[in-house]
Symmetry: C2
Subunit: 248 residues, 2 copies
Amino acid sequence: MAEVDRSLSQTVKAQLALRDQILSGSLRPGERISELQAVETTGASRTPVRMALVRLEEEGLLEAIPSGGFMVKAFSERDISDSIELRGTLEGLAARFAAERGVSARELEPLKECLAAIDELLGQVPISIEAFSSYVTLNARFHALLTELSRSPPLIRQIDRASALPFASPSGFVMAQSALPEAQQILIIGQDHHRVVIDAIENREGARAEAIMREHARLAVRNLRLALRNRTHLDLLPALALIKTATD
Amino acid sequence: MAEVDRSLSQTVKAQLALRDQILSGSLRPGERISELQAVETTGASRTPVRMALVRLEEEGLLEAIPSGGFMVKAFSERDISDSIELRGTLEGLAARFAAERGVSARELEPLKECLAAIDELLGQVPISIEAFSSYVTLNARFHALLTELSRSPPLIRQIDRASALPFASPSGFVMAQSALPEAQQILIIGQDHHRVVIDAIENREGARAEAIMREHARLAVRNLRLALRNRTHLDLLPALALIKTATD
DNA sequence: CTAGCTCATAATGTATACATATTCAAGTAT
DNA sequence: ATACTTGAATATGTATACATTATGAGCTAG
């Protein structure tokens, strides 16, 4: 859509390029990232590369080395499930804020449209790969809209940061399900969570809205477990390269 | 302990200096931060200053301007109370993790020592200014130890980030109480929360541990309200300069 | 043969020069 | 008189040169 070549700043270009390299596994966890090497692969000079490295550290993908420089972070399975639970807890808080503080029908409308669009998607049986892809987009949109309902800039900011880790994002493991036989059921259950949280917010049931969003995230944790057990379709997972295998 | 002048990197020096300027009000909210001016006041050159600015943005004290550069962020009273509630929610999650996953007596020991030290402090009546200052240190230590009990690196990281905002940190409003007549009661109640959360973790009562930490944070919210009503001792507050006054 | 030290290499941290974009002010035209 | 345009000044974004520190290899001594 946008010309990546010249419309973006060198810093952003370097950040995107490095993130790709990390998530694709070109840069392996624990390995020190050479600035010089990054300069060669990204095309930017050292200054924007260093800026990008700092931002990726804040993002959680990199870890600062005490003696200087950065290395790619490694994540255990528990790290990932904790990150998902964390995200769910924050989304739960957002849902509770929305319920307690009240939301107008007008604000709820885009959420309901999103809900209806997903309903239509799930009506088709069996669910095609394209439908999965559309689901990822719509699901991300639903979660973003829900977060905004909290009308709390600090909370929105924290949720965005918690979702920055690719495996912690709301749609992190949806694609991994696409090959699973349980796929359709899981999506249907998730969609019901969506429906319930809207209902709870409408009725100003804060505790219910919060609880359902927490449980919703635990669906993602279950997907993670499923995906890691059936290791056949792990290539659909983002950032697989970052997952620590039990070697120690 | 460490010589601030030459043992720290220029980047860290610049970051500390700029943070001081922001929190002290030398740089006012909404105002664009001039790199050149920052170079003069901090003594570092533009490169480390820019690094510091990026880090302060991630920290939440600065906001990126679309056309380039950074400005000091302004916070409403609600932003602050939401940030505190957010921190409490995360600490609640940490306490629940600790309770559910189990903590050995050995791990709990430093927490109990901290608890006892605070008890001793609160035994003195009336509480001196020095005692308040010691309380701030011990309280911060207690919260840090509790967070670590979760044994969840992603969660610890997020709590640290949520506590980076000075007014959201566990001890953010303690000093503001020092002049309040209700001061002693508030500290006693807070200390009881500490006692209860340890008891809950020991007995593996996850829900109770979580709930009490949330309520504990709400004590800070109440302190915030109190402090903002009696505006006489607002000078003890950090980052008062960042609070948006109701002008719009 | 192993452990420790020294030196060379190469990395990061810093400073500054240069290019580009934005912003503000002044002047002109309507 | 006001609005728009143009230009200059100053800001940020980028590149690179320099300094300092970490790291690793090779040699020597025990």
